[in-house]
C-alpha cells in the first residue's frame, strides 16, 4: 500500500471517530444535542454539564482507550501467532482475567474497587505465563501457543462456571461483568487505563519486529532477531493491554479479533500503519457498540459486549468464508 494512502486512511478514521464521539456523548436516557456539547466544551455551561462531565465524557474516553487497546492486542497476537483468527478472547487471556475477577466479585464483594481490576489483570498475566511456560520447550511455535491458549481458556471457563453455580446469588453482577459493559464507569476507572497509554511508545518501537517475525523464523533469526524473546515481549504487551481493558469493562469480545482484519484491509499488513489503524477501528467499534447499546431502547442498556458480538460475529463468519475460498 502507498504511504500517502495510509495517512489518508488514518485521517478519515480520525474524522469518523470525532463524529462518533459527539454522537456518543449525546445519546442516552437524556439526549444532549451536538450544539449543547459544543457549548459545554468551549466553556459556557448549560444545564447538561453534570451528565456530561461526570458520566458521558469519562465513559466515552474509556470506550476509546479500551477499544484501541483490545484492537492493538489482537493485531499483535495475530502477528506473533501468524494466525488471522487469534485474539485475546480466543486464546484464553480474557477468560483468565474473567476467572480471577469472578473470584473477587463473589468471594469478597466488599473489597475495594481497586482490587477487581488488579485481580483481573493478574488473571490475564497468569494465563500468559502458563502459556509461555507450556510453549517454551517447542520454541514458542505459533500453533502450540494457540492450542495451549484454547485449552487454558476452557479450564478458566470451568472455574468461572463453578463459582457461578456455587454462589448463585451473585450471578447477575457476575454475568453482566462477563458479558462486558461500560455502564457506570467513570473517571476513577479511566485512570486505571493510564498504563495502556504509557505503553504506546514501546509498542511503536517493537512494531517493526512484528514485520520481521512475519518473514518466518529462519529469516528473522538470520536478520539477528532473537525470535523467542521478541515473541514473548510482544505477548506481554498484548497481555497488559488486554488485562487492563478486561479489568475495566469486563470481557468484551470480538474487538481484538475483527479490528485488525478491517485494519489490514484498509492499509495492508505493515505494522507501522496496521497498528494505529487497527487502534482507531477498535476505538470506533467499541464506541459505536456502546452508543447503540445505550441508544436503542433507553433507559434499558444493552451491554456493549453483546452488541460487539452481534456486529462482530457475522463479519467474522464472512471472513472465515473468504479465507476458505482463497
Amino acid at each position: 500500500m502507498k504511504r500517502k494512502h495510509s495517512y489518508q486512511m488514518l485521517s478519515i478514521l480520525f474524522l469518523c471517530l470525532i463524529i462518533t464521539i459527539v454522537i456518543s456523548l449525546g445519546v442516552g436516557a437524556v439526549y444532549i444535542s451536538p450544539g449543547e456539547i459544543f457549548q459545554q466544551i468551549i466553556g459556557s455551561s448549560p444545564g447538561s454539564s453534570f451528565i456530561l462531565t461526570n458520566y458521558r465524557i469519562p465513559r466515552t474516553l474509556i470506550a476509546i482507550v479500551v477499544g484501541a487497546a483490545l484492537a492493538v492486542a489482537g493485531a499483535i497476537l495475530q502477528g506473533i501467532l501468524k494466525n488471522p483468527l487469534a485474539s485475546p478472547d480466543v486464546i484464553g487471556v480474557t477468560k483468565g482475567a474473567g476467572l480471577f475477577a469472578v473470584f473477587i466479585l463473589i468471594v469478597c464483594p466488599t473489597a475495594s474497587m481497586l482490587l477487581l481490576p488488579l485481580s483481573a489483570f493478574l488473571g490475564a498475566a497468569a494465563i500468559a505465563v502458563i502459556l509461555m511456560v507450556f510453549s517454551y520447550s517447542q520454541g514458542a511455535k505459533p500453533h502450540t501457543l494457540a492450542l495451549v491458549g484454547v485449552a487454558l481458556g476452557a479450564i478458566c471457563q470451568a472455574g468461572i462456571q463453578y463459582f457461578m453455580i456455587k454462589f448463585p446469588d451473585d450471578v447477575n453482577t457476575t454475568l453482566l461483568w462477563l458479558t462486558g459493559s461500560l455502564w457506570g464507569r467513570g473517571w476513577s476507572e479511566l485512570w486505571m487505563l493510564i498504563p495502556c497509554v504509557a505503553l504506546v511508545p514501546f509498542i511503536i518501537i517493537f512494531a517493526s519486529k512484528l514485520d520481521i517475525l512475519n518473514l518466518g523464523d529462519e529469516i528473522a533469526v538470520g536478520l539477528g532477531e532473537r525470535t523467542k524473546y521478541v515473541r514473548y515481549t510482544l505477548l506481554s504487551m498484548a497481555v497488559i493491554l488486554t488485562g487492563l481493558s478486561v479489568a475495566v469493562v469486563g470481557s468484551i469480545g470480538f474487538i481484538g479479533l475483527i479490528a485488525p482484519h478491517i485494519g489490514r484491509r484498509l492499509v495492508g499488513s505493515r505494522s507501522k500503519f496496521l497498528l494505529p489503524v487497527s487502534a482507531a477501528v477498535g476505538a470506533l467499534f467499541l464506541l459505536i457498540a456502546d452508543s447503540l447499546g445505550r441508544g436503542v431502547m433507553p433507559p434499558v442498556e444493552i451491554p456493549a459486549g453483546i452488541v460487539t458480538a452481534v456486529i462482530g460475529a457475522p463479519y467474522f463468519l464472512y471472513l472465515l468464508r473468504r479465507e476458505q475460498k482463497k
Partner: protein, 335 residues
C-alpha cells in the same frame, strides 16, 4: 506376523473385557455412592427384587436413571466426537470445540425464554436445530479441504465464543437466569426416567447407525481422493455422519446441557487402545465415553460435598489438561 495379529486381536478382547467390567463397576458404584450410601447387596436387591424400602425407592427413582443417563450421554458424546474427528480428519474436532454444543445451548436458552412452558420432548428438536447451526460451520470447513488443524480449532473456538456470548446476552437481559445457568454447565443431577426416555431413542438410533456405517467412515479418513477412488460417495458420507453428530450431540445437550470434552478426549484414548480403524474406534469410543461420564458423575458429588457440582465441571477439569497434553505433544497435530 500371524503371531502379532493374533496378539493384537487378543489385546482388543482384553481391552473390551476390561472396559465392560469397568463400566459395570462404575454403574454399581454410581448407584451406591451419594449423600445416602447404599450397600452393594442393597443395590442388587433394589434392582432385581424391588420392595417398598427406602433404599429401593432411592435406587429405582433417583440413582438408576441417572446412572443410565450418564452412560448414554457419555456414549453419545464420545461417538459424536469420533465421527467429527473422522469427517474433518482433525484430531482436535469435537462437538464442543466446534460449537455444536454451544449452538444447541443457544437454541434451547432462547426457547426457554420465549416459551417458558415448553415440554422437554420438544426441546430435543430445538436442540437439533441449534446443533445443526453449529455443525453447518464445521461442514463448510470440512468440505473446503485445505484448512490446517489449528486454524480449524481457532475458528471453532470463535464460533463457540460467539454463540455463548449470545447465550449470555439473552440471560443477562432476562431475569430468570439461575435455572438455565445450572443447565448450561452440563449436569445430570436430578434427572429421571422421563429424560432417559427422551434420550434413548435418539442415542440408540444414532449409535447404531454410526456403528453400521463405520466402514465407510474409516475410508473417509484416508482422504477424499482415495475414498472416491475406492468407490465411496464422500459428500454423502460426510453429510450422513454430520446428521448423526447432530442427533447424538443435540439430544445429549437437550437432556443434560453442554457437557464438554467427552467428545474430544475419548476418541483419542480409543485410538491409543485399539488402533486407527474407525470400525473399532467408534464402538470403543462409545464404551469409553460411557465409562468416563459415569465416573465423572460420581466425582461430581464430591467436589463440593455435600452439594452436587455439575458434571460438566468435572469433565472440563479432566479434559482440558488432556487437551494441553495433545497440544504439547504436537506430533499428531501437523500445522
Amino acid at each position: 506376523m500371524t503371531n502379532l495379529v493374533q496378539k493384537q486381536k487378543m489385546n482388543k478382547y482384553i481391552v473390551l473385557l476390561a472396559s465392560v467390567c469397568l463400566l459395570i463397576i462404575g454403574m454399581i458404584l454410581h448407584v451406591a455412592v451419594g449423600s445416602s450410601a447404599v450397600s452393594f447387596t442393597e443395590v442388587m436387591k433394589a434392582i432385581f427384587a424391588p420392595d417398598d424400602s427406602k433404599q429401593t425407592t432411592i435406587v429405582q427413582t433417583l440413582r438408576l436413571p441417572r446412572a443410565v443417563l450418564a452412560a448414554l450421554i457419555g456414549a453419545s458424546l464420545a461417538a459424536a466426537g469420533a465421527l467429527m474427528q473422522a469427517i474433518t480428519r482433525n484430531s482436535l474436532a469435537s462437538p464442543q470445540v466446534f460449537g455444536v454444543n454451544a449452538g444447541a445451548s443457544l437454541a434451547i436458552v432462547i426457547a426457554f425464554i420465549l416459551f417458558p412452558d415448553l415440554t422437554s420432548q420438544s426441546t430435543v428438536y430445538i436442540a437439533f436445530l441449534g446443533a445443526a447451526l453449529g455443525g453447518m460451520t464445521v461442514y463448510l470447513f470440512a468440505s473446503g479441504g485445505k484448512t490446517t488443524h489449528v486454524k480449524l480449532a481457532l475458528a471453532g473456538m470463535a464460533v463457540h465464543l460467539f454463540l455463548s456470548s449470545l447465550t449470555q446476552g439473552v440471560i443477562v437481559l432476562n431475569e430468570q437466569a439461575t435455572d438455565v445457568l445450572y443447565w448450561l454447565v452440563g449436569s445430570i443431577n436430578g434427572k429421571d426416567w422421563t429424560h432417559v426416555k427422551i434420550l434413548l431413542p435418539w442415542s440408540f438410533l444414532g449409535l447404531l447407525l454410526a456403528f453400521g456405517s463405520s466402514r465407510s467412515i474409516s475410508i473417509l479418513v484416508l482422504g477424499e481422493n482415495m475414498a472416491t477412488g475406492l468407490g465411496e460417495k464422500v459428500k454423502w458420507i460426510r453429510f450422513f455422519a454430520g446428521i448423526l453428530v447432530i442427533m447424538l450431540a443435540g439430544a445429549s445437550v437437550a437432556v443434560a446441557g453442554p457437557i464438554g470434552f467427552v467428545g474430544l478426549i475419548v476418541p483419542h484414548i480409543a485410538r491409543k487402545l485399539v488402533g486407527g480403524d474407525y470400525q473399532r474406534i467408534l464402538p470403543f469410543s462409545a464404551l469409553l465415553g460411557a465409562i468416563l461420564l459415569v465416573y465423572a458423575d460420581i466425582l461430581s458429588r464430591f467436589i463440593a460435598y455435600p452439594f452436587e457440582s455439575p458434571v460438566g465441571i468435572v469433565t472440563a477439569l479432566i479434559g482440558a489438561p488432556f487437551f494441553l497434553y495433545l497440544a504439547r505433544k504436537g506430533r499428531n497435530i501437523k500445522q
